[in-house]
């Protein structure tokens, strides 16, 4: 009797355990299903469909992205492209920066490709484009060139900090022109701004201090022999170094916010401009001439000062000093006794890109954030007379450009610039038959 009861009890126990297991599995299944549903909904929100894209599609997309991202010059050694027009759209892919190297007939334009950090060299007269280096610096956001072709390549590390590589193109004759390496070293992390110094091997840079301030450092190009030039409790400075050795700091501009600009002289700040809303500032080497831009009350204003003791003259063009370059002082005649005075007294000419239309009442803020872009025309400004002239330019007639970071060669005959809308590289040739004639100012 007892045996029978025991068997029945065991049977019920087994049935119960089986039912619990089945129930648990059902509950687990339902739980997992709910989670999958949630994940699927989130993936759908991101756009990931239920079916994975075929592998060949992924390969194709990656290939297309790479092909479209690499310059057509890569691997081609030397490529010659059309270079006859005054305006030359040199690259179709973004660049990080550019600078002129050499002078006279041997003058070249160097630039760094944004995707790779490779350096290229352009013959601005013949149109030949050649790759110089093969050392990869992915996602190069900024490139600053010295007159001797040395470069600072700036990018961001994984923590969002700025990295700065100071490089020089190896000059080994045994290497193919497109296979040279970029020798150099990384500078300190977090450098806020860099500018080439007065001599080709000199570098100026702004470092951030612990307390939020900055220090201006002068060093050799590779960062060695650093010397403190100036310290400030503020950090929002634009660093401007001129070829005559003068150093300027201008507050980063913002619409409707008063800005100040100073020259660093003997460790002190000598005022250049102050109190103007949205101040942008560009001084000229070897003279006290300067360009001033302002953005306040929803409008831009622009002025030029020919001398330190002269009043700024309002110009009938509306732009920002960031879009301008001064024609470098030309060497004084050999018989001139006072070289510096002769350079200062020479023509004080600036070229500025002027938006044909200002699309925003807070142009500076929106432009710096990449929220608006403009179509520019080039204008010539004579600081001494205050006259402005439109610079006619042939070539690239159907393309517009939003000038950013212009640089001019030593002779003042060529301006290279990036199009802020896509970071592609352009070149404007000045003084040609087509654009030496002036037109009636606006």
């Amino acid at each position: 009797m007892n045996m029978r009861v025991t068997k029945t009890f065991v049977r019920f126990m087994l049935v119960g355990i089986v039912m619990l297991l089945v129930g648990g599995l059902v509950a687990w299944y339902l739980f997992l299903r709910a989670q999958v549903s949630t994940i699927t909904a989130q993936d759908a929100a991101r756009g990931y469909g239920a079916a994975a894209a075929p592998a060949q599609d992924a390969v194709r997309d990656a290939y297309n992205a790479i092909v479209s991202g690499i310059s057509s010059f890569v691997g081609a050694g030397t490529t010659t492209v059309s270079a006859g027009a005054q305006l030359w759209h040199i690259t179709k892919t973004p660049v990080a920066g550019m600078g002129f190297v050499g002078s006279g007939a041997s003058e070249k334009l160097r630039f760094a490709e944004r995707a790779t950090g490779y350096l290229f060299e352009v013959d601005p007269r013949g149109g030949a484009v050649a790759r110089l280096t093969n050392r990869l610096f992915p996602k190069t956001y900024e490139a600053v060139f010295s007159r001797d072709g040395s470069v600072i390549l700036r990018s961001q590390d994984e923590r969002g900090g700025i990295t700065s590589f100071a490089g020089t193109v190896a000059s080994s004759s045994s290497e193919a022109p497109d296979a040279r390496t970029l020798a150099g070293a990384y500078l300190a992390r977090g450098i806020r701004a860099v500018a080439p110094g007065a001599s080709p091997r000199e570098l100026l840079y702004l470092t951030l201090d612990q307390g939020g301030g900055t220090t201006v450092i002068r060093s050799l190009w590779d960062g060695s022999s650093p010397k403190k030039v100036f310290s400030s409790p503020l950090s929002d400075w634009k660093l401007i170094a001129l070829s005559d050795g003068r150093i300027f700091l201008a507050q980063s501009p913002a619409d409707d916010v008063a800005g100040y600009a100073y020259e660093i002289k003997g460790g002190a700040l000598v005022p250049q401009a102050g109190g103007a809303p949205g101040l942008t500032f560009l001084p000229r080497a070897a003279s006290s001439a300067a360009l001033f831009g302002g953005s306040g009350g929803g409008a831009l204003a622009f002025s030029v000062r020919a001398r330190a003791d002269a009043a700024p003259v309002a110009l009938p063009i509306k732009t920002v000093a960031d879009k301008c370059v001064w024609v470098p002082p030309q060497p004084a005649p050999a018989k001139s006794k006072n070289t510096k005075a002769a350079q200062a007294a020479g023509p004080q000419i600036a070229y500025c890109a002027v938006p044909q239309y200002i699309p925003s009442t807070r142009f500076l803020n929106d432009w710096y954030r990449g929220a608006v872009h403009v179509a520019d025309s080039w204008w010539r400004i004579d600081a001494s007379s205050g006259d402005v002239e439109l610079v006619p330019a042939s070539g690239a007639a159907n393309e517009s450009f939003d000038v950013e970071g212009p640089v001019i060669d030593d002779s003042g005959s060529m301006i290279a610039f990036m199009n802020a809308a896509d970071k592609t590289l352009w070149l404007l040739r000045l003084g040609t038959d087509a654009n030496s004639a002036s037109t009636t100012p606006r």
Partner: protein, 344 residues
């Protein structure tokens, strides 16, 4: 030349008269008080002088004004005069003498020593490392302010910061901990949400001979969310902010939100809470890079309504939002196409 241009030139030229200051000693002991407008004129600046006296009726008196012993104005009831200050380090002695009808004579004396003070400010709010504009202050952040004082002694020597006593004020309240000898810079709280703070500084040389002041109105700015493509080759496309409605010739793209002027040091600050929505569905943010999102439009109609709300822990004042309507093209980029043209 438009009126705005004229005003801009005046602003550059006249910055000294707006922000710069002067130092003057007023001689009331002899019976006449001299006041200057502006109170602290800069170098080579126009100064308006006014005389007042409790001793005699100046309206019925013959008054003579002298600047460095040269008469500059004279006549019955001439209680006001104008001068131009000299350069930094100079001193102009102003003397006014009044003689009433009954023969009573009183005088007043002032010494005008031009000084200049610039008041510079910036914020510690977030902007991308290579951003070229000013970081603007938002509620919860801090302001960094600096007074650049140019005090010169008659021999042309600059008075160093260590010999100048600075008094910082925020909306009129003295900031004791930030003020003192040599304290030419200060860190102050940013203005409250929708508020505007008036920051001012008084600077006085340790010997009291020179003084100046400057002030600035600093408005609060709301953090601004901008969305950029994070390109696999080019990195963050900070030069091409996504517009409210954007078409993209690709079927998948990574985006990064940049919280301009948020009171943090990094867009991935752990105090920031990114709430992403795509087509109305919540998408949990990435653990390490919550400001980034990748959207794939394969197997969809290609339209993505992206919404982002950004808040900060324990900070009710921060609530930035952005909405972007992105139209993807399932065809993707054709070989050789320029990806930078696709969003224009």
């Amino acid at each position: 030349m438009t009126l705005r241009n004229v005003l801009f030139v005046v602003s550059i030229l006249g910055a000294a008269s707006v922000a710069y200051a002067q130092s003057a000693f007023f001689g009331a002991a002899s019976g006449i008080t001299i006041t200057t407008t502006p109170e602290h004129p800069g170098a080579n600046a126009h100064v308006h002088l006014a005389a007042a006296s409790p001793a005699i009726n100046l309206d019925r008196s013959d008054i003579t004004w002298y600047a460095d012993n040269a008469a500059i104005a004279q006549g019955a009831g001439v209680k006001e005069a104008d001068i131009i200050t000299g350069p930094l380090g100079s001193e102009t002695r102003v003397l006014v003498v009044a003689q009433s009808a009954d023969g009573t004579s009183v005088s007043g004396e002032a010494f005008i020593r031009p000084t200049e003070v610039d008041l510079l400010w910036e914020s510690d709010s977030y902007v991308p490392p290579l951003y070229r504009g000013r970081a603007l202050p938002s509620a919860g952040g801090a302001l960094r302010v600096e007074a650049v004082a140019r005090f010169e002694t008659p021999d042309g020597a600059a008075v160093p910061d260590s010999d100048i006593i600075y008094t910082w004020r925020r909306n009129g309240s003295v900031q004791q901990s930030e003020s003192g000898r040599g304290k030419s810079s200060a860190i102050l709280p940013a203005p409250a949400l929708f508020g505007t703070d008036t920051i001012s500084v008084d600077a006085v040389s340790a010997d009291g001979a020179l003084s100046g002041s400057a002030s600035a109105s600093v408005p609060s700015t709301e953090p601004l969310l901008m969305l950029y493509e994070d390109h696999p080759l080019y990195g963050l496309m900070m030069h091409q902010a996504l517009l409210a409605q954007t078409s993209i010739s690709d079927s998948e793209m990574a985006f990064a939100a940049v919280p301009y002027f948020a009171p943090v040091q990094s867009p991935n600050d752990p105090r920031l809470n990114y709430a992403w929505q795509v087509n109305g569905t919540n998408v949990p943010p990435d653990g390490t890079q919550p400001n980034e999102i990748t959207i794939n439009a394969d197997k969809s109609n290609g339209l993505a309504q992206v919404a982002l709300a950004l808040t900060r822990a324990a900070d009710w004042s921060m609530n930035a939002k952005g909405v972007w309507s992105i139209s993807f093209s399932a065809a993707g980029i054709a070989p050789g196409a320029d990806p930078f043209r696709t969003t224009q």
